[in-house]
Each structure stands twice: as structure tokens, then as C-alpha cells.
């Protein structure tokens, strides 16, 4: 035989080799595989339940850590404790608790005298405000709940001039936060086999206690401190951003891949049928495609989602139904050229039936363009879904919101703040999405380069 000896390689195997040799495609494939892996193993990888709300934490920057507990941890002697698994397993555990409270007041001066004093919550007017009453501390509260100057602990009376050090020059209105400091207490709790054995509050034995997450300052067992670390910070509801990105990626990828598969099945069958039968049938079928193209599909999807609910299944169908049009055109074009090739006639002469022709001879030979287009469709669908989420049409499943990357980005945008101080809520989800889209696009382009013989380099 004239060819070099060695293992026979199928066209598919040759394409794979060419693909891996193409650096861009290999990089894209690597990114896609990495991202897919991360979102697939999210439940095992993710440190936190993405839906767990800790309102007392608020939005915290990446690297933030806090005592690892639930928002309410209930212990009563002889009963099962309601808390985290880690605490249950710890055996002997010590909680340092500081129950404090804070009140915000609004003070207005007019013509040099205090015109009004009022508790912000409930707008309760007062005549006298003694800042030293709780032996706590007082601060000026700035916009967006930021803490400003520390204020002296003095008394303010309505109708009198304000004491020194409260108002800055020319300042007319001030918000004062007065924190009430309570005595810290320590709870030592012993848990055996999930049952609470004993509870000691500052050395005294008690029967039961509910420890609120916002009051717990530290949790220690032995000399180990139990903390929850947030790599990418938390959002304004105290949810872990990393977990939300990983779970959001599952939604985005699921939508992208499933809708692509839907478009693949419809598009390939439709396009192959149109191309194979040709003539009148082809013109008729492709006219339908042209008509469908003319419909502004984003509106259609929006209407579908509004009418039938934001069910994820509807979304798959709706997005897939938009994408199959181009797939049908591509496959039809390929089939039209392939149909004229001699091996199709040869197969026909060998007695091949139309089904055999289409599925054994035609479609396998246009697998290249199909794979390329499918790969490039996934990022398009992911983007479209993000767009829908961005305008508030978050997908739901059984009535629960499924926050995809689009939804995370939208929420990040809203919580960003005027100076962009909570940037991590926007940056990280956006980065995750961009990386994935970049991966898919590179992979698709690389695939095109190595599967399409016309662009293949000599040799």
C-alpha cells in the first residue's frame, strides 16, 4: 500500500489532533472544560449554600470572614440542637455573645437652636437626647449607613443651642447613631450525639437559649475558632458570592447547552429535510424560516415568559426555537452541496433509502459545520438568557428564582453603589461569564479553523 504504515485514523480523530494543535482552540477548550467542571461540582466545591441569607452581615468585600453559624441557633438541654453541622460535631463549644443595640436619631438646627430631635425608626419626636444614657458610643451617620465622626457623649435639648462638637460648621442636619453596649456573655455548650448536654451562661447553668447570628462574636471549640470565609465576599443579603457564581453558572450553562441542543435537533432535521428534498419543498421550508426570521424573537420570548410563567422549560424551548433558524440554514446549505457529490449518487445506486442517505451519508459529512455552529450558539444563548435576567425575567423553577449569571450581574449592578464601593458584586459574576463566553467563542473559532478544510493551512 502506498500510504505510511500505522494505525488507521478516522476523520474524527484527525480533527481532534488538529484541534489540540490549534492553540486558540485548545485554550478555549481548556477554559470551557474548567468552567464546566467548576459549575458541575458546585455542590461539593461550594463552601456555602447560595440561598442562605444573613441580613446582619450585609455586603462585605472579598476575604471577609465571620463566625460560622446559622442566623438562629437554638439549644435546649436534652433536645436536638438546631445549628450548623460543624457546631453539632464539635462537642464542647464556646460562644462569645455581645447583644448590643443601636438607635439612630435625626437632629435639626434652625437659626442656631435645635429645632427638632427625632428617632428615625418610627419618626418619634423627642425633647431631650442624652447621648451618655446607655454608656455606649455615638457616631455621626453618613449617607448609606457609613459611620462618620465619633461624637462626644453630651446631652441635646430642643430649643437650646447645640453643644460643641456635634455639628460641623454650617451643618444643619445630623444623623446620630447611638450604640447601646451590653455586657458580653459567654456560653459554653456541650453537645453529644446531636443532643445538647449542658448550657452554661457565664458559668451558670441554664435550660435553653436562642443565639442570634448577629450577636455572636466568636465561636471556639478547644483552641480552634469556627469561621466562615467568603473568598469573593457577600452580597447585601449576606449570601456568599462565590457560591452564587458557581450555582448561577449551572443555570447559565444548562440554559446555554440545552437550548443549543434543542436548536440542534430542530435545525438539523429541518435543514436536512429541506436540503435533501430540495426543489419546491426546499423553497417552501426555507420561506418559513425567512418569515420566522422576520419576527423580533426577543419580544416573542419575553411574551412567552410573561404568558406562561418564567419556567425554565419554557425558556429552553423559547431560546432553542430562536436559534434553530440559523442552524437549519447552515445544514441545508451543506446538504445541498453534499447532495450533488458523487458518493451520494453512489449510495443511491447501491440501493440506499432516503433515511440511510440522510443519516449515514449526509449528516455525518456536515458534522463539522454543525459542531462549530453549535459551539458558537452556546455563548449566544447564555448572553440572551442573561439579557432576559437583566431585564428582570429571571428563570424560575417550581416558583423559585434561579439566579443565573445574568441575574447576579443585574443584582450586582443595583447594589453597586454610587461610587462603585460594592464592586465585587458585579465584577466577579461578570468575569465568570466573560471567561466562559470567551472560552466557547475561542473553541468555536478554533474548531472552525481546523474542521473547515478551506481555512486549513498547507500541510
Amino acid at each position: 500500500m502506498g500510504h505510511a504504515p500505522g494505525k488507521s485514523r478516522s476523520p474524527f480523530a484527525r480533527s481532534i489532533t488538529a484541534l489540540l494543535r490549534n492553540r486558540l482552540a485548545a485554550a478555549g477548550l481548556f477554559l470551557v472544560v474548567i468552567m464546566s467542571f467548576f459549575v458541575t461540582v458546585a455542590p461539593w466545591l461550594s463552601p456555602d449554600d447560595p440561598t442562605e441569607i444573613r441580613p446582619w452581615l450585609g455586603a462585605r468585600p472579598p476575604g471577609f470572614q465571620h463566625p460560622d453559624c446559622k442566623s438562629e441557633n437554638t439549644f435546649s438541654v436534652g433536645a436536638q440542637a438546631d445549628t450548623t453541622q460543624q457546631i453539632l460535631e464539635a462537642g464542647e463549644i464556646r460562644f462569645a455573645v455581645e447583644e448590643g443595640d443601636s438607635v439612630t436619631y435625626r437632629v435639626v438646627v434652625r437659626r442656631g437652636i435645635i429645632h427638632r430631635i427625632m428617632v428615625v425608626e418610627g419618626a418619634v419626636p423627642m425633647d431631650t437626647l442624652d447621648l451618655s444614657q446607655f454608656s455606649g458610643e455615638s457616631y455621626e451617620l453618613l449617607e448609606e449607613d457609613r459611620i462618620g465622626r465619633k461624637l462626644p457623649l453630651v446631652a441635646l435639648n430642643r430649643g437650646e443651642a447645640p453643644p460643641q462638637g456635634i455639628f460641623a460648621d454650617g451643618q444643619r442636619v445630623i444623623f446620630i447613631r447611638l450604640t447601646q453596649v451590653s455586657v458580653p456573655s459567654v456560653y459554653d455548650i456541650r453537645i453529644e450525639k446531636n443532643l445538647v448536654y449542658s448550657i452554661d451562661q457565664d458559668g451558670e447553668s441554664i435550660d435553653g437559649i436562642v443565639l442570634r447570628g448577629d450577636t455572636i462574636k466568636s465561636i471556639t471549640t478547644g483552641d480552634r475558632e469556627l469561621v466562615r470565609f467568603h473568598w469573593l465576599g457577600t452580597d447585601e443579603l449576606g449570601r456568599d458570592v462565590l457560591s452564587r457564581i458557581l450555582y448561577g453558572g449551572r443555570i447559565s450553562m444548562l440554559v446555554g447547552i440545552t437550548a443549543t441542543l434543542v436548536s440542534l435537533v430542530i435545525g438539523v432535521c429541518y435543514g436536512a429535510a429541506a436540503g435533501y428534498f430540495g426543489g419546491r419543498t426546499d423553497r417552501f421550508m426555507m420561506s418559513i424560516v425567512d418569515i420566522l426570521y422576520a419576527i423580533p424573537f426577543m419580544f416573542l420570548v419575553i411574551i412567552l415568559l410573561v404568558l406562561f410563567g418564567r419556567n425554565i422549560i419554557i425558556l429552553f424551548v423559547a431560546l432553542g426555537a430562536v436559534q434553530w433558524l440559523t442552524m437549519a440554514r447552515i445544514v441545508r446549505g451543506q446538504i445541498l452541496t453534499l447532495k450533488e457529490m458523487e458518493f451520494i449518487d453512489a449510495a443511491r445506486v447501491c440501493g440506499a433509502q432516503p433515511i440511510t442517505l440522510i443519516f449515514r451519508h449526509l449528516i455525518p459529512n456536515c458534522i463539522g459545520p454543525i459542531v462549530i455552529y453549535a459551539t458558537l450558539t452556546v455563548p449566544v444563548v447564555i448572553l440572551e438568557e442573561s439579557f432576559l435576567a437583566f431585564i428582570g425575567l429571571t428563570v424560575q423553577y417550581q416558583g423559585e428564582n434561579l439566579d443565573s449569571w445574568g441575574a447576579l450581574i443585574q443584582q450586582g449592578m443595583q447594589a453597586l453603589g454610587a461610587g462603585g464601593e460594592r464592586h465585587w458584586l458585579l465584577v466577579w459574576p461578570a468575569l465568570a461569564m466573560a471567561t466562559t463566553l470567551f472560552g466557547f467563542n475561542c473553541f468555536g473559532d478554533g474548531l472552525r479553523d481546523c474542521l473547515d478544510p478551506k481555512t486549513r493551512r498547507v500541510g
Binding site: 500500500m1 502506498g2 500510504h3 505510511a4 488507521s8 485514523r9 478516522s10 476523520p11 474524527f12 484527525r14 489532533t17 488538529a18 419546491r280 423553497r283 417552501f284 420561506s287 457529490m341 458523487e342 458518493f343 449518487d345 453512489a346 449510495a347 443511491r348 445506486v349 447501491c350 440501493g351 440506499a352 433509502q353 440511510t356 449515514r360 451519508h361 455525518p364 459529512n365 493551512r457 498547507v458 500541510g459
Partner: protein
């Protein structure tokens, strides 16, 4: 110094130690391996070889058209004393198209479809010679006139797609000649053209070369084309020059066994070989593998000796002044010492009509037309084109019917209509008493098992995603005759039958060579044990040496399986070797049909005679008689419309009757039929020259 300069004056182009390597997936492909030659001013040299021997790489590297990071070129290319390889880019560009011009194989792809013909021809003149628009235009009109295009002024404004293949090639030649180059490189200039058009183009090249005293490098695989055109021939094999000599000497006493094999493998229309055709076994060397010591041709050489395996031959002058790369001084002759055989006419007439077997397949009044485009929503349908027009044929059991004609004459459509790949509008195709055209799809599918088709392009007729055994056993699987392991066994048997090794069973088509692919196609066609095999140009895309192998295989199989063959080809020489009877088709009609011997000895229809005379004969001593037809594009459209003979616009003997009446196939009492009113006058009138005098050449 004097001698050096005089040498330089004399030789226009000197190539020394040219190497071209391509980096491929499989390894380094040594396409050109140390080629050296000189071209003198005004000399015409042919570079000949099979596909893959590196001849096109030589041509492209001469013009500096090979570049890229996967290509490595080494060696010296000196043109008028300048080294083209070290020349700066702008100077190279001023030589390219000006001093050296090139004509490519495919005139369709080498013309820019978006530019008018006039623009493309005048572009080099405006660029290299600094002509003004008007000057260039005037010059272009002259050129178009010189290359034989009617109404050159109007042609300037036309686009390449409005031209036929021959006209496009003329246009390419005009563009190449526009700056009066010193050297014209023609890379397979006629391979894509019909034989009658080929004759015209070769004639044009010869004429222009002589007129302009231009040097010519003709790159071709066809030794027949070379014979009348070139002074010197360089034969390449495996990226090396294996023989270099003057044309006369080469054809008379080729000394390298490869050259001799090439010459012997060419089927000649002017005599019939008895027995199997000479075929060069094996495959050309794989240039990716390292050429380990020994002669590259050794594995295929019939004269090989032990020395050939170990010793690498060098290109040398032997004692008789021949330059070749063979260790021995073989005296082989041409192998063509069969002189033109004169079949005595009695043997033709003797053929007894009564003992001929019955027809197995008959075609009566078959008409196939292709629909014009348009329809469904808007627009009118364009009128249909009749590809096959009232064709009647019969194929007898065990015989081979050759079907000959130029491209577009409807011969392939006829084959497709017979096997039901295209629908027929009228007529009858009877096979063993069934009319195939009226059968239901299911019934037709069953009958089709008996009639199989072999395709022109062996590669494109095999699904690239299936393995060899799947391809070969596919008909069996489709008809539910075998499955799985049984199909594999059957495929093994079939592949053995066509001479393929069983190690190829699990390989994909791209891993086979062209000839092997065609063997696969034949194996597949034989899978269902058909009675009729229709071969649609089965060898036209193969090299000469492989062509003979396939023809021999077909003849063997026909004998052992009692097959009836319809052999379709544009190549009359090939048809002669294999056919018992021959039918000639022109524009959808059969214009002549007769026994093979008779048609080659005594062609009746003017078209048949033109076809025969246009075939280049690989022998410079045979006086070529060129019967020049008007090529179809040169005839005004008004001439063609009308009810007359389709051939009348191109026929040198056209009379009034031909333009007004359609001739029907005329039986002259024997088996032969001819559709011409005046054939008797042409062939029997002794006062008439055999071919019109005005157009006979050489």
C-alpha cells in the same frame, strides 16, 4: 569570462539544485529533490511526470509563488543572470507577469470572477509597461484577436463566467502574453479542456511561441501533448529528474525504464493493443518517507537488479549522449514498436450479425431535460435544457459499449438516467423485459441491483466518513443481504477480487491512493453481482500508469463475471482499448455508432473524425493532422438556434440542408449508424481531401 557571459546569454533560465519541502502533519514532504536544468532563449521544454512528482512545485517556485512557513525552498533559480530567490520583492514583482508569465491549469479559478476580462488582461500592461488606459485597451483588443476570440472589443466588457472553458484559457494566454514575456510557464494548460479545444489551445501556444520567439516550459502529465510542441523533455519521478533529452530522442529511444513505462502505458487510438494493456504496477513513491538509499523507481522497475537497491543513481550522460538517472544503459526502445496496424477491412465486414447475443439493455428514444431555475413564489421558470435528446442504444450480453463525447454532451446524464438517478421525460429503458422508467420506486430498487455504476472521481464517490469495508459492503447491507461479520467477510472477498490487500479493510478512503479508491468503487459495484456495469469516466482522473491497471482490471472482471459494460469516456484512445462497439454523442444525440474497429478505421461523421484527429499522439514522427473545428463559443448564437443538425455550426462541410433539417441515425445495412446527410460524400469522394486542407498543420 567571455565564455561565461556567452553562456549566460544563451541560457535564459538556470535552475540549480532546487529543493522544495512541505512540512505536513505526517512529516516532511520532499516534493522537489535537487532539480537542475537550463532553458535557452526561444527553447520549448516540457516537464513531464505523474501527479505528485513535483512538477507543479517546480513551476510555482520559478515564479516565487511558493511561500509560507510550511514551505522550505533551497537552490538557485537564475533568470537572465539574476537570482530570483534572493531578489527583493519589488524587483521580483517586476519580473513576474512581465518577463515570466504563467498559464494555470484551471482557467475558471485563475481568473477573478468579479473583474471584467478586459481589465484582467490589461492589468499587467498598465502595471509593468506603464500603458495608459487607451493604449492598454488597444493592445488588449489586439491580443484577444491574436488568441482567436471573436469580436474582441465586445469581449473586453464581459465577465469570465460568460466565457466557455476554452475561451477562458485563451483569455489567460492573452493575459500571459500581454507583456511579451521571455518565458511562458504553462502548468497543465489543457488538462481541464476537451480534446478538440485542447488541440486549438496547443496550436495557439505553438503559434504564439514561434511568433514571439518566446521560451516555453510546458508542465504536463500527457506525453501526447508534448510530442508536437516541445524541443526538449524533462521527465520527473519522485521529485527528481530521471531523464532529460530531446523530444525526438525520447520518443525514439527512451532510456530510463520509467519514461519507457510511461510511453508504453499510454493507450493509442491509432492501434489496438492485443491482450491486457501494459501497466506500471505499484504506486509512485511516498515522498514523506525518507528516501533511503537506492533508486527511487526501483520498486516498480521491471529491470531492477540488486545494485538498484543499494546504489543511488545520479543524473549522468551515458555513452550515447543520453542524460538519465539509471545505473544501467538500457536499450529499451519505446515499446511502441507496434506499427500502426492495418486491420483489413474484410475483418470488419466479416462480423456476423446473426451470432451476436441478445441485447440485455436497450434504450429507446430517451429524453432527459433539466428544469430551469425559478418557480414557487415569484418569477418564471426558465426553459428546460435537453441534456439527452432522443437517444437509442442497445447493449448486448457480455459486450462493452463505449460512449464518447465532449464534456456537456449528455453522456453522464444518459448513464444516470439509465440507473434512475435522474428522471427521464420520454423514452424507454428496457432491462430484461422491464421498462425501468415505468417501474415503481420499490421495484426499480430491486432491478437496480443488476445495473451498477462506477463513478468518475474515485475519491468523491466514496463517503469519507466510512471505512473501506463499510463502503464495499454497503449495497449488501442496504438490501439486507449481509450484516456485521458477514458483511466484513464479503467485503474482504470483494477487495481481494479487485486486487486490494485485506489490511485496507478498516482504513478510510483518504488513506488510499486514487487508483486504489477506484478499485474500492469497483468492488462496491460488484457487491450485488450485477449484470450491467456502467462506467462513467472511470479512469479520467487517474494517472496514465494507474489508468492501465484499472482498465485491465475491468477487462478481467468482465471476462470472469460475463459483465456487460457501458464505458463512458471523453478519451477515444481509452475507449478503443476496451470497447467492442462505440457510440459518439454530440449535444445530447448520438451522431454515430459502429463497431470499434470500424469507427477508428473509417469514421463517418465529421464530428467523429474531428475528435479522432484532435487526439495528440505521443509520437513526434506521426504527422499530426489537425482538423480544426469551430469551437462552439465562436459560433454566433443565431447559427445554433433553428432546426438543423446540432453540429452544423462547427462542421467544416456544412451545407444548407444541414441548417434546416435534423439528420437521423442512418443505417447503412451493417451495424453502424451515422447521423449525417453527407457522410458518404465526405468519406468516399476521392477528390475531396480527407480533412479540409486549410486547417491541416505540420
Amino acid at each position: 569570462m567571455d565564455s561565461l557571459s556567452s553562456m549566460k546569454d544563451k541560457s535564459l533560465l538556470r535552475v540549480r539544485g532546487l529543493h522544495v519541502n512541505y512540512r505536513t502533519e505526517a512529516g516532511l514532504l520532499r516534493a522537489v529533490n535537487g532539480v537542475s536544468f537550463d532553458i535557452e532563449r526561444g527553447e520549448s521544454v516540457a516537464i513531464v511526470g505523474e501527479s505528485g512528482c513535483g512538477k507543479s512545485s517546480v513551476a510555482l517556485s520559478l515564479l516565487g509563488l511558493l511561500s509560507g512557513r510550511n514551505i522550505a525552498i533551497d537552490g538557485r533559480i537564475e533568470f537572465s543572470g539574476m537570482d530570483l530567490r534572493t531578489l527583493p520583492r519589488h524587483r521580483l514583482q517586476s519580473i513576474r507577469g512581465h518577463k515570466i508569465a504563467m498559464v494555470f491549469q484551471d482557467p475558471l479559478t485563475s481568473l477573478n470572477p468579479y473583474l471584467r476580462v478586459g481589465t484582467q488582461i490589461s492589468e499587467p500592461m498598465r502595471y509593468h509597461l506603464g500603458f495608459s488606459k487607451a493604449e492598454a485597451r488597444a493592445h488588449t483588443i489586439d491580443l484577444l484577436h491574436a488568441v482567436g476570440i471573436n469580436d474582441p472589443a465586445a469581449s473586453l466588457k464581459r465577465f469570465p463566467h460568460e466565457f466557455s472553458g476554452g475561451m477562458r484559457q485563451r483569455t489567460m494566454i492573452a493575459a500571459a502574453l500581454s507583456c511579451s514575456p521571455d518565458l511562458l510557464v504553462a502548468d497543465e494548460p489543457t488538462t481541464a479542456l476537451d480534446v478538440t479545444v485542447q488541440a486549438q489551445i496547443l496550436d495557439l501556444i505553438r503559434r504564439e511561441r514561434e511568433r514571439r520567439e518566446m521560451s516555453l516550459i510546458l508542465i504536463t502529465h500527457d506525453l501526447g501533448v508534448v510530442a508536437g510542441l516541445c524541443d526538449r523533455v524533462i521527465v520527473m519521478y519522485g521529485g527528481q529528474v530521471v531523464e532529460e533529452s530531446s523530444a525526438e530522442q525520447l520518443y525514439a529511444e527512451a532510456c530510463h525504464p520509467y519514461t519507457q513505462s510511461l510511453l508504453r502505458a499510454i493507450p493509442r487510438y491509432d492501434f489496438k493493443h492485443s491482450g491486457p494493456l501494459f501497466s506500471l504496477d505499484g504506486q509512485p513513491p511516498d515522498l514523506i518517507e525518507n528516501l533511503d538509499g537506492g533508486c527511487a523507481f526501483e520498486p516498480r522497475c521491471e529491470f531492477r537488479k540488486d545494485k538498484c537497491v543499494s546504489e543511488v543513481p545520479v543524473l549522468r550522460l551515458d555513452s550515447r549522449g543520453r542524460k538519465h538517472r539509471c545505473l544501467f544503459e538500457l536499450d529499451l526502445g519505446t515499446g511502441l514498436n507496434v506499427t500502426k496496424c492495418h486491420v483489413d477491412e474484410s475483418s470488419i465486414l466479416k462480423a456476423d450479425l446473426t451470432d451476436r447475443p441478445d441485447a440485455i439493455l436497450t434504450v429507446e428514444g430517451l429524453e432527459v431535460s433539466y428544469d430551469g431555475s425559478g418557480g414557487l413564489w415569484f418569477g418564471r421558470r426558465e426553459p428546460a435544457v435537453k441534456a439527452v435528446n432522443c437517444v437509442s442504444l442497445s447493449l448486448r450480453k457480455g459486450e462493452t459499449l463505449g460512449l464518447v463525447g465532449e464534456s456537456g454532451c449528455g453522456k453522464s446524464t444518459l448513464a444516470r438516467a439509465v440507473v434512475g438517478l435522474v428522471g427521464a421525460q420520454a423514452g424507454k429503458v428496457s432491462f430484461e423485459g422491464n421498462d425501468l422508467l415505468t417501474l415503481s420506486t420499490a421495484a426499480l430498487r430491486v432491478v437496480r441491483r443488476e445495473i451498477q455504476l462506477i463513478f468518475q472521481d474515485p475519491r468523491s464517490s466514496l463517503n469519507p466518513r466510512l471505512k473501506a469495508w463499510e463502503l464495499v459492503s454497503e449495497p449488501l447491507v442496504n438490501f439486507g443481504l449481509a450484516k456485521g461479520a458477514a458483511a466484513l467477510r464479503e467485503a474482504e472477498r470483494l477487495m481481494e477480487l479487485v486486487g486490494l490487500d485485506r489490511s485496507g479493510l478498516k482504513r478510510y478512503p483518504h488513506e488510499f491512493s486514487g487508483g486504489q479508491c477506484q478499485r474500492l468503487g469497483i468492488a462496491r459495484a460488484l457487491a450485488l453481482n450485477p449484470k450491467v456495469l456502467i462506467c462513467d469516466e472511470p479512469v479520467s482522473s487517474l494517472d496514465v500508469s494507474i489508468q492501465a491497471q484499472i482498465l485491465n482490471l475491468l477487462m478481467e472482471l468482465q471476462a470472469s463475471f460475463e459483465l456487460s459494460l457501458i464505458f463512458i469516456s471523453h478519451d477515444l484512445s481509452v475507449v478503443r482499448q476496451i470497447s467492442d462497439r462505440v457510440a459518439v454523442m454530440y449535444q445530447g444525440r448520438i451522431v454515430e455508432s459502429a463497431d470499434a474497429e470500424e469507427i477508428y478505421q473509417k469514421p463517418k461523421h465529421p464530428y467523429t473524425r474531428a475528435l479522432l484527429s484532435a487526439i495528440p499522439i505521443p509520437d513526434p514522427t506521426v504527422p499530426g493532422i489537425r482538423c480544426q473545428l469551430h469551437s462552439p463559443e465562436e459560433t454566433a448564437v443565431s447559427d445554433r438556434s433553428g432546426d438543423g443538425c446540432d453540429f452544423s455550426p462547427r462542421c467544416p462541410w456544412t451545407r444548407d440542408r444541414c441548417r434546416n433539417e435534423i439528420p437521423i441515425l442512418d443505417h447503412d445495412g451493417s451495424e453502424s449508424q451515422v447521423a449525417c446527410f453527407f457522410w458518404k460524400q465526405h468519406t468516399e469522394d476521392p477528390t475531396r481531401p480527407k480533412y479540409p486542407e486549410s486547417i491541416a498543420h505540420r
